[in-house]
Amino acid sequence: MSSAIEVSQLRKAFGDRTVLDGIDLEVPAGTIFSLLGPNGAGKTTTVNVLTTLITADGGSVRVAGHDATTEAKAVRAAIGVTGQFAAVDELLTGRENLQLMADLHRIGAGSGKLVGELLERFDLAESAGKPTSTYSGGMRRKLDLAMTLVGDPRIIFLDEPTTGLDPRSRRTMWGIVRELVAGGVTVFLTTQYLDEADQLADRIAVLDRGRLVAQGTPAELKRQIPGSHVRLRFADPATLDAAARVLAGATRDDEALTLQVASDGGTRALRSLLDRLDEYSLDAEELSVHTPDLDDVFLALTGHDTEVTAK
């Protein structure tokens, strides 16, 4: 299988602030690659370099077999980009936006038919004649993606395609991404959500402060992070002490008066945990079940949480 995207030792700094500090990655054609990281990690900068919007300070970037700096035109002909903020023309209607793309791609005769098909496919036919300023966030994202598809790109970059979308629109977007890949397209996706990367990606790379701290399949990554756990909060230090003796292997936090117990969060495991507390007449003030999220991945991989000074 050939590589759609090859990046080695990519560096980029804005002034004296290093944003990307030597990134290596490879995306095989026809797969979904997800770049996972918190705000300010350098995800958008990576996408901007890969899509020829900005040039790298160092390293090599090849997209669709072409160098992103010296053969930018050839790269642009092969890619489609849907940025973080819906790049639609608000004064034009949905149909006019798509027609504008078709005109710029010089599609000519078949463009009306193509535009109609895209409107149908993205469930936008009903609002096709309305200005996009009246569209909901989800509809704009869909239109944005439809506009990206007009030139039939072989590699599609999606920069946080579901940030700010409601759960239903997110699911729709995921469905569309899966369809694209089924059609042989390569997708490079950035996200702040572990579950999104988990759902969609063949490979995930975790970006932190301009460096890749981990790379692998979703299963490989999840093996590196702590599993689900139950958090118990107690009323006073004495109860916490007593509970800590009963529940060996739990992690205690004296300040918060909590214990963290490894657990899959299922009812059977919970029942046995509660039975054990009951056996020793211990009462917890509060019980909560935690499944791993991006914060856990970060804590596990980098030793610090996802709080990064905002740009």
């Binding site: 901007n48 899509t51 020829t52 919007l53 900005i54 930018a72 035109k73 642009r76 002909a77 890619i79 489609g80 980009v81 940025g83 973080q84 903020f85 819906a86 790049a87 639609v88 023309d89 608000e90 004064l91 034009l92 006019e96 504008l100 793309m101 005109d103 710029l104 791609h105 010089r106 599609i107 000519g108 200005p131 506009m147 030139g151």
Partner: protein, 253 residues
Amino acid sequence: MSTVASPLGDSAIMLRRNFKHTLRNPTAVFNAVLFPVVIMLMFVYLLGDAFSVGVKYVDYATPGMLVLAICYGLGSTATAVNSDMTKGIINRFKVMDVSRGAVLTGQVVASLLNNVIAVAAIVGTAFALGFRPSASFADWLGVAGMVVLVGFSIGWFTVALGLSAKSVETAGLATVPLIMLPFLSTAIVPAGKMGPGAKQFAEYQPFTPIIETFRGLLLGNLHAGDAIAAIAWCAGIGVVGYLWAVATFKKRA
């Protein structure tokens, strides 16, 4: 299938887009026409008798009002350019390898069309107020040419202002001096009637020769010196505006 993209074709597509924007947003056009007309009514109809400028005041004021109408209309050009830059659509065009100049050319030409509409409204109002120019057909062609030259050159400068502004609001604010400058020229009264400081400023700022050229063409007493200065100013402003606009456009991702 697709044919080779050309900068000219891209510009035409972009102009169509900007033209649709204008049609979609009639209040902006209305505003660009209304304000200069109101100013003209105020100065000529309400205050006109109070000025003694040697000729009928409407004949004196109309050339300045033409320039004011052009300048006022440019405010919306700056905000339109800025909102294109800040709303992300520009990145889509860049990634699609649309000719870099096409986006800007579309804006400048659309802005020029707005200018022509506003100028036509001013000329109409002037005639209603008793404007009786002595211009020949050739003079009118000269006026039309100057409108295009001024609109085009200051249009490029405005595009640069719009591109450089951080937000849509500051882009609008950046064009305020352009709207104020005609007032500090010979548009309303001759420089000789102004106080010290203002007089010298009015004599040497670019809008004075531009307005004097319009005045000369319309009233049939054109001085070559004014025309040369006006064309030189326009060429200078246009070239600086164009280079500044293109450089800023490349810099902003």
